[in-house]
Symmetry: C2
Subunit: 480 residues, 2 copies
């Protein structure tokens, strides 16, 4: 490593030394995000926001292909509405921001800034729904929500975050359940096909489910430090809210009924997941699907005759099929630029200098493996296209291997304690499914039930934590 | 008019009878919007939101083509930041919503829900800007803002609305002025090329400019009822905020300087403009560029053999080049559907029944002129493509003619009073440009200075309102 390069990389704390500091260094140095003057609120800078736009674009298309339409519901929710569903208010009231004054006047009823929109949306749905012919309602909104958090970290847990929230109504329980699982599956495919982030999917325990849900389904990803990240949830709300809000429809049989209800959401938290699954000690490693810059062209000896002409030619050749940029800044050396773009996680770098032009070639560098290759100039476009796919596949494979290495089966509570203390990761175990047992595991190891996976394995007849009869197998982990 | 059709149309109050009621009827009957439980807050329903998405998509592309990037700043702004720029706080403090409690605790400093984001953005820019090499900053955000309004009407004036706000920093005054006018021009092109809505562009009077601006530029459209709508504004903020927030950069000459600053925004108010410029007594007339459904195919005698096959074939032929839908509902007659889609403003309707199929033809209906034509089936795709362009051009022309018919030159205050009482519209007049005169015009006629247009005309040497020397010519109107 050259001296200059070392200095550059030295600005990022190695993840083995302090993972939390590594994360903070990476997000700040790469201009993804900044702290705002309001504690717990983040500013998403252009480089971070462009990642979110790429996620939005992919997901919005998936939502629309499955019949969903976007709409927009108010930011502020009257306290009386928040209180209508008992479990829901209990879960959310302690962490909402309250508006008490509008203009110069004190409000007769205080309004909360939406922490999630089930209540205001159900209030509107109760006005809109008349007949079974109107069903299903398949609506989604992209917005920001506020949850007053005591301890925050950008992207992972902030008092305000951006997300999408889908809210649907259906004629039958089965249809609602089908929707809940369909959306979870779209989330899973987004994680794997766009973000190269493998996930475990399954159901939340009663303790961990959404406040007011009949059943919550989740996708859980494992980070480099062995902690799990809940990366998206889909809730079957059954008739909990539709009866509390008295939403009814005239069914085929002439009876008035409450419809079945789902909600589902993913947030800017996904960006935190991308960073902690793929990043390394040089900084970000971005999956090509969401990288704001997929390919950067760095000219070498740009002042020499013919270099910038060739760079411009290549840029024009690539720009319609990928997000490509030319780094033509004249106040930085090529070496400095290489380091900066590596830190920023750009999947492919193209280097072109006078000697390359002489040899009718360019040098391609891939961020995931740090390997270089020489490619004939007229093959660059095709090769970069292939490389971007290869990089995605390699990142997904590496992340799967990392997860599998950090996934353990355990047969005893002591084994579990040892793992959580020394080499945290996913722990698979048979489980009694009882709340008291779950609380004890959390208290003694810091791990929670991440999910009861759809892919059940037979791991034993007895709960290793309490000795009672095991009912299912579950994934346990410390979590963000 | 058939009896059924009459009943359908009868649900909308004619605009000549009561324009405000016509507007309310149209927006509610066509499912653009609904009232929420919080006074002054609206719900944007899928049909209305789809229009906003089409506007966003077009504008976002224009912003990015001119070098702007999106980002996201916090929803809540500390009161101390709002107060930093004196004119700004005076303008906005009376109409903001205040968050006083987070979770269970009262906040040490209250936070306002952003009414606009100059203050929080300048606070961040002061951390980010170091050198002239960092300039320009060209950032934009799409978000919602809250302004506590006493009297509200969906899209036109609501306590919460969706918008984009661009915020840029530049090395020189001239560059900031160039940016201000460039963005106003993009707004003007959006209005005319996407929304078919002609606008007058020019500068706001000192009274009407943005709180804290050096100069505000605006585009003003004229509605069917002769009232003006401020449809987008672009502000040259000079160094008002950058000095208040102590934003500095090291310039080429080694001196620390305050950069020059602009901001610019359009909002969901544009949707109100589209409705009031193009709509008629049957309901919406949507410009093709933003119509959620550009073409609807209505099968006639859908149960007859071959009809749905032909409809599906046509749908598949059209769907890649336009937003097309098939109305295959079996519980409504074709006539009912015709009326509903006309009310919803869909630019082109295609009717196909057994007789049409026999004759290898379809019937095309255009919403703007209510004309029908018969077209050979294999020419439908090409013809509809042409029709959509024709409809746009015709809507723009009609709106220009409407505006010109309602635009008056006046030579005396009495003339002005008569016009505002009997046939409101744009009034062009020479003007002294004095605040006292402006206040008097407003008090006695209800009209305000809409703008001092870039296209100045010589209308006289004396201000017709006060008799002083005229300095410029201005547009006056009653306004939303
Ligand atoms: Zn147990
Ligand atoms: Zn005057």
């Amino acid at each position: 490593m050259a001296k200059k390069e070392k200095q550059f990389v030295a600005e990022i704390t190695p993840m083995e030394v302090d993972f939390a500091q590594w994360y903070t260094d990476v997000i700040l140095k790469t201009d993804l995000v900044d702290y705002s003057p309001v504690k717990g609120f983040m500013v998403i800078k252009p480089y971070g926001y462009a990642i979110w736009e790429n996620i939005q674009q992919y997901m919005d298309k998936r939502f629309k292909e499955t019949g969903h339409k976007n709409c927009y519901f108010p930011l502020l929710i009257p306290e009386s509405l928040l209180k209508k569903e008992a479990e829901h208010v209990e879960g959310f009231a302690p962490e909402v921001a309250w508006v008490t004054h509008g203009g110069q006047e004190e409000l007769a009823e205080r309004l909360c800034v939406r922490p999630t929109s089930e209540t205001i949306i159900c209030e509107m749905y109760s006005k809109w729904l008349k007949s079974y012919r109107d069903l299903p309602f398949l609506y989604n909104q992209w917005c920001s929500v506020v949850r007053w958090e005591k301890s925050t970290r950008p992207f992972l847990r902030t008092s305000e975050f951006l997300w999408q929230e889908g809210h649907t109504l259906h004629e039958t329980y089965d249809e609602a359940q089908g929707e809940t699982l369909q959306m979870l599956n779209i989330y899973k495919e987004t994680a794997e096909e766009l973000l190269a982030m493998p996930v475990v999917v399954g159901q939340k325990s009663d303790k961990e489910k959404f406040a007011g849900a009949h059943a919550t389904y989740t996708m859980e990803a494992l980070m480099h430090d062995g902690k799990a990240l809940q990366a998206g949830t889909s809730h079957n709300l059954a008739q909990h809210f539709t009866s509390a809000f008295d939403i009814t429809f005239l069914d085929r049989d002439g009876e008035l009924k409450h419809p079945y209800h789902t909600s589902w959401g993913v947030s800017t938290r996904l960006i935190g997941g991308i960073i902690m699954v793929h990043g390394d000690n040089r900084g970000l490693v971005l999956p090509p699907g969401i990288a704001p810059v997929q390919t950067v062209i760095v000219p070498i000896a740009a002042h020499k005759g013919g270099v910038m002409e060739k760079v411009d030619e290549l840029f024009r050749e690539l720009k319609d099929t990928m997000r490509v940029e030319v780094d033509d800044r004249d106040n930085y050396s090529p070496g400095w630029k290489f380091n900066e773009w590596e830190m920023k996680g750009v999947p492919v770098r193209i280097e072109i200098g006078p000697k390359d032009i002489e040899n009718n070639q360019a040098i391609l560098f891939r961020r995931d493996t740090l390997e270089k290759e020489v490619v004939a100039l007229d093959e660059v476009k095709e090769r970069v296209g292939v490389l971007l796919k290869e990089i995605h596949n390699n990142l997904l494979l590496k992340a799967k291997n990392m997860r599998d290495e950090k996934t353990y089966y355990i047969k005893s509570f002591d084994e579990m304690k040892g793992i959580m203390e020394t080499k945290p990761g996913f722990v698979k175990a048979a489980w009694c499914q009882e709340r008291a047992c779950e609380d004890k595991i959390k208290a003694e190891t810091g791990a929670s039930v991440r999910c009861i996976p759809f892919e059940q394995e037979k791991l034993g007849d007895t709960c290793p934590f309490c000795g009672k009869e095991a009912k299912i197998m579950a994934y346990f982990a410390k979590a963000y």
